[in-house]
Symmetry: C2
Subunit: 276 residues, 2 copies
């Protein structure tokens, strides 16, 4: 097929390419290169520094799975914080949850929020909810200055390079621990179990030293390297596998479900060995 | 990164590309174009008509998951048939199982078996097992001529185009039913739940009309379109979810495990709707 293709070098020697129907938006913000392109296969796609962040076709997997496992592990997730997530997909999921009273999103780059509001309304619609508040600020600084405030914190970051690197550090997880109430939970996107094995190991070691409960969550995001993706969850008190799944509200999710709440925690041996 | 890249158009508007260190083998057999290339990211890779079949790095997922769920659902899988699977990875898994007495593989293209023996010894080693027999023949014809012989049949085919198309037909599933003993089980690779939704729906409808038990199995194969892959299982008697997983033998699998035996059957709602 001929035409304009976007290619991302996902790993050394591995690229994904998508046929582009139209480049809808392109700017260089203070922090990064921001593009929204309309693709043949995945619909509209957000690119930051030419790395695929999310697409209209497959975003449900990532956004449901980063939020719902943590939200439904907490018995009363009233006050929720998102770090990053400027496309709005994560906050859209959070505000659907009947127990959530307030969802605060701290995104460093206003350009991402603006571009998403304009070009990705399916995701950014979450910003319009009365429970949602958007703060344009450095998430690391914001979390450092928060104390015992949040029930759930979700770290919806880019890959661990540049500005986002600090969001994968032990010091940051300590700040997250401090910003959570005494029974709080956090979940963070933590890359591929095929390609980022050392990173996942290191994160899980760090989190286990700070939180009494640490779990890996698996989900399949087609536009991410290798398709299989991890989220790492740290919890001060509650265990995701002990949730009575019959109490989980039905929120019309397409990837997450009561049954997936438990099965997403079951790790193939080649992943399990990263957290043992 | 510059150099020689292999690109596969996985879907309209979606391509995967792998940096090639060396083209080890290239022939045009009676049935297809056969290549073995050594790639930077996935090691040696088998290409049939320039579609990725398997790679040394990620093959364990596919080969364990096409075999182990079916084998361990059957209480006594003594006599096993593989249709296709000329690389040897599936038969390698089968012969590991302590209850298997005989594993017959029927591959239409001797070129695939020969190239795999030469260039993919990690997979083709299964052929050397005394329990294994390789027959070069048309799998559809072979199954049609078999009656009540096999405990388990595994259909390890290419995509449903060309010669392999018949392996996805209702008539073939009827022959499979006939070739199985009265408590037999089959499993077949049945493509992507993101991209081949109509196919999966149709197959499951057909299989449900022929077998009393039909289940989808999910696993993540990084080099297949979208990463998430399905296997469809038809069973005359046994239910995979009712297996006492404590009886499952430990065969040093890297993706499959006792726990995965159950969790791989849990379908996200967007997949579940294909089989309801």
């Amino acid at each position: 097929m001929i035409g304009v293709w976007f290619s991302e070098l996902q790993q050394p020697g591995l690229a994904i390419s998508c046929l582009v129907k139209e480049v809808l938006h392109h700017e260089k913000s203070e922090y990064q290169d921001i593009k929204v392109v309309d693709t043949e296969r995945f619909g509209r796609m957000l690119l930051l520094d030419d790395v695929i962040q999310t697409t209209v076709k497959d975003e449900f997997v990532y956004h449901e799975m980063i939020s719902m496992v943590a939200l439904n592990t907490h018995p009363n997730p009233e006050n929720v914080l998102v770090i990053g997530g400027g496309d709005g997909g994560t906050i859209r999921e959070i505000v659907k949850h009947p127990k959530v009273k307030k969802a605060t999103l701290v995104e460093i780059d206003e350009g991402v929020v603006k571009a998403s509001k304009k070009y990705l309304p399916e995701l950014a619609c979450g910003f319009d909810d009365p429970k949602a508040e958007v703060i344009i600020d450095d998430g690391i600084k914001f979390v450092k200055e928060s104390t015992a405030q949040f029930d759930v914190i979700l770290i919806d970051s880019t890959d661990p390079v540049g500005a986002a690197e600090g969001l994968f550090s032990a010091n940051f997880y300590k700040s997250v621990h401090n910003a959570l109430k005494e029974d709080g939970i956090f979940a963070a996107q933590t890359e591929s179990p095929f390609f980022n094995r050392d990173l996942i190991k290191r994160i899980n070691k760090d989190v286990r030293e700070i939180f009494p409960v640490c779990r890996l969550i698996l989900a399949n995001v087609p536009t991410y390297p290798g398709g299989l993706w991890t989220f790492t969850m740290g919890s001060k008190k509650y265990l995701p596998e002990e949730v009575d799944i019959e109490n989980i509200p039905d929120l019309n999710t397409r990837y997450y479900s009561k049954e997936i709440h438990k099965s997403c925690l079951v790790l193939p041996p080649f992943v399990k060995e990263l957290v043992e």
